[in-house]
């Protein structure tokens, strides 16, 4: 039953049709949420008592940091599907997600560095959270480079899936780094188990920004995976009808 369910969604042809159908809705939702979240957060949320106005970087830093890690978990899920059921589409989606993860991790590191200048007095510190996030960035970069370096796609898909699963070991380290070690980086302000430690007037635009990035990254994933499918399946007969 599970195999049938996966097969139903695993066809690149069906997937491309769904991408085309839903792209405009997801993309528009992302833009609307981002405009509301950022305008509210940057211009209308109150000034922080300790950090002043520089905390407003949070509306880009937190969503990009969350998705930098979440995208890797999603890649690991697809890697499992690819290795267990040999689903081609899962490998395409891993590659597409790796590019988006790379972008998100870069934005998280960059915004964090800029935030560090006025608050910590330095743009970089080799502390646990920042270093483990840098490792995540290098992992995304490594996976993309490795996959591009192979001529045999089947082999590179399998190798990439294995490496993605091995790389998940870094994710709990990033998450728990602020608790396990003494770091410059503050502990998490938002967790699933406790109520947020930031004021509700700052929290709502932050949640809207997080949702916005979710939609934007999904729409970006649609485009990225479309490019990969068009490249990899270009000799298939159904592609001729599709384009």
């Amino acid at each position: 039953m599970l195999k049938n369910f996966i097969n139903q969604f695993a066809s690149p042809k069906t997937y491309l049709k769904r991408c085309d159908k839903y792209f405009i809705f997801v993309f528009s939702a992302g833009l609307i949420f981002l405009a509301v979240g950022w305008i509210w957060g940057i211009f209308y949320s109150p000034t922080d008592a300790e950090q002043g106005d520089v905390y407003r970087i949070i509306y880009l830093h937190v969503p990009t940091s969350i998705y930098a890690q979440l995208i890797y978990w999603i890649m690991a899920f697809w890697a499992m599907i690819h290795l267990v059921w040999r689903v081609r589409l899962a490998a395409y989606l891993i590659k597409a997600a790796a590019y988006i993860g790379l972008l998100s991790t870069f934005l998280a590191l960059f915004s964090g560095s800029i935030w560090g200048i006025p608050t910590w007095g330095t743009w970089w510190q080799w502390d646990a959270r920042i270093t483990s996030t840098l490792i995540l960035f290098l992992m995304y970069l490594g996976l993309i480079t490795l996959h591009n370096s192979f001529n045999n796609f089947d082999k590179s898909d399998r190798l990439m899936s294995i490496l993605v699963i091995v790389g998940t070991i870094n994710l709990p380290i990033i998450k728990k780094s602020v608790d396990w070690w003494s770091t410059l980086h503050q502990p998490a302000s938002i967790t699933l188990t406790k109520s947020p430690s930031i004021d509700i007037t700052m929290f709502i635009p932050l949640m809207i920004s997080i949702i916005a990035f979710g939609f934007l990254y999904i729409s970006m994933g649609f485009l990225m995976s479309k490019i990969i499918i068009l490249t990899r399946e270009k000799n298939k007969t159904w592609i001729d009808q599709y384009v």
Binding site: V54, R56, L230
Partner: protein, 51 residues
């Protein structure tokens, strides 16, 4: 309302959001272009094959 250009922290905020918007925009433009190019490439291949 927070004035991003007169605040002492404004430079940090607009540099982060400026680069963020620029990167997101560039990514979308590149992706749209690449999708269009791939489709054209496949159409050319099809024409060659039928000829």
């Amino acid at each position: 309302m927070f004035d991003i250009f007169s605040s002492s922290h404004g430079v940090y905020i607009w540099s982060v959001y400026g680069l963020g918007i620029l990167l997101l925009l560039t990514s979308y433009l590149l992706l749209f272009k690449k999708v269009r190019d791939k489709k054209r490439q496949i159409k050319c291949l099809n024409t060659e094959r039928t000829d």
